[in-house]
């Protein structure tokens, strides 16, 4: 989400071309964010496609078109959240599937263990940590993207880090 794009440059190209251009500039960053939040490459790809489908009908009406990457980031986080909620409902109403094995076997390396633990965090804690430590967003910007108060972000990050620390072996 770090690519900068002047909206006025994009006014010159056709609408489809404009979507293509925005995709080339932002899709990679959006996919990386989606992957870190979901831990699933295929799902991350789907989320990015869906985010662009949604943005296509909307970017004419954006209040600040230069902030396309901000809107996109927010859409990716919301789609990941919606997916997570749907999965929760599905799990609740399909107890037979509850015992499904994890799709990825746990890795034994320390960094991979950190990744595994990160993926096991509650979805909102994981999202807050990714936005803070990967996207390098401030607490205020993270709260804006997640649509929650700054205090909630502080608490989510703090609890998430606490859990990561507790699970890792002490040096």
């Amino acid at each position: 989400m770090r690519a900068e794009a002047g909206w006025s440059e994009l006014e010159r190209v056709s609408e489809s071309g404009r979507l293509g251009e925005l995709y080339r500039m932002h899709a990679g960053d959006a996919a990386r964010l989606a992957y870190l939040v979901t831990g699933d490459r295929a799902l991350a790809e789907d989320i990015v496609q869906e985010a662009f489908v949604r943005m296509f009908g909307r970017f004419r009406d954006l209040r600040n078109p230069d902030a396309f990457d901000v809107y996109l980031r927010r859409t990716v986080v919301n789609l990941a959240r919606s997916h997570h909620r749907r999965k929760k409902v599905e799990r609740k109403h399909a107890p037979a599937l509850a015992g499904e094995p994890a799709t990825e076997p746990p890795d034994l390396g320390e960094r991979d263990r950190l990744w595994t633990v990160l993926q096991s965090l509650p979805e909102r804690q994981r999202t807050a940590i990714v936005l803070r430590f990967y996207e390098d967003l401030s607490e205020v910007s993270t709260a804006e993207v997640m649509g929650c108060p700054v205090g909630t972000v502080k608490s989510l990050v703090s609890r998430g880090l606490e859990r990561l620390r507790a699970t890792l072996p002490r040096e």
């Binding site: 979507l19 899709a27 209040r63 789609l79 960094r111 990967y134 649509g147």
Partner: protein, 311 residues
């Protein structure tokens, strides 16, 4: 640990690659979606004009006739259901705010349920539970029918998050529900409005002395919470445009944000004006434990007050 975490996140992120160019299928989906949106906007406009003309004709034909709300639901869950024919096109209204928000999606879902899928949609209590789970994020709720009219197809359902310390409105909602696509047995239930459940009749008051929230006009969003809810609360708001939106994604709304509650009052100015296509106002009252109650209502295009009627 933070440097390790940062390094790990960047390393993992670098493993994620996408095709460099926009896949044609995504472009097709995007165009189709926008085409549908435009078609539904046009259809809504046509229906609105037709409805207005019909309404005016009815009123001029018989000045003694009042066009108002349906009679208040008075039945119980045990009442026998009498199937009614589906309403004619001209009578079809789409007041629903969840799960579907427009006519095409509701009809399509009704057809899907008719084939045996997601039968829970024909049960107002199960639909209310799903709403609490998906929108408020409450996993364990008690649901109770306050009133039900299976013939008209309307119900009022109270939803209470379990293990609450009191019943003053923490973790409790009242949902007005309706069978929008088809009345009678087999019709799917939709949520029409959401209000805080309060046994004492307390509600979120939006009549704060300024202009009411009306699409197409500058606006201030302000009001007051019941005292029992106000302590340490913040209010998240979203104003959704059009007839396609997702209550679970406040961040997707064209206008959204969070207001702090001082004493029991909240206040924010909407920059510019509320979009002329604005259709729904949604508020969530947040405490540290998450959403404690919510309010969702359709915006009226008249200057009428937006405050929900107390139960």
């Amino acid at each position: 640990m933070e440097p390790d975490l940062k390094e790990l996140l960047h390393r993992k992120a670098d493993d994620m690659h996408l095709p460099p160019d926009l896949p044609p299928v995504t472009l097709r989906r995007a165009r189709r979606r926008r085409g549908w949106s435009a078609a539904f906007a046009s259809m809504t406009a046509v229906l609105f004009v037709a409805g207005t003309i019909t309404g005016v004709q009815l009123m001029t034909r018989s000045s003694g006739t009042t066009i108002g709300q349906s009679p208040a639901p008075t039945g119980t869950p045990d009442e026998p259901t009498t199937p009614e024919p589906a309403p004619a096109d001209s009578e079809f209204a789409v007041p629903a705010v969840w799960p579907e928000t427009n006519r095409a999606d509701i009809e399509s879902e009704q057809q899907r349920v008719n084939t045996g899928a997601d039968r829970w949609r024909t049960d107002p209590l199960a639909t209310a539970s799903h709403f609490a789970n998906d929108v408020a994020g409450w996993n364990d709720v008690a649901v109770d029918i306050a009133s039900l009219d299976p013939i008209v197809g309307s119900a009022v359902v109270d939803v209470v998050k379990r293990n609450q310390v009191d019943t003053e409105g923490f973790g409790a909602l009242t949902l007005d529900m309706a069978r929008v696509a088809r009345s009678g047995a087999g019709g799917i239930w939709s949520v029409v409005t959401v209000a805080p459940y309060s046994p004492n009749g307390q509600h979120i008051d939006l009549s704060c002395g300024t202009d009411p929230l009306v699409p197409g006009r500058p606006a201030t969003l302000c009001g007051a919470l019941p005292p029992a809810l106000a302590n340490h609360a913040s209010v998240r708001y979203a104003i959704f445009d059009g007839d396609r939106f997702d209550l679970a994604s406040f961040g997707d709304a064209p206008v959204h944000g969070t207001m702090l509650v001082e004493h029991d009052r909240f206040h924010t100015s909407i920059i510019g004006q509320v979009d002329a296509n604005a259709s729904v106002l949604a508020l969530e009252v947040l405490h540290s434990s998450g959403v404690v109650t919510a309010m969702v209502q359709r915006l009226r295009r008249s200057g009428a007050s937006q405050a929900p009627a107390p139960r």
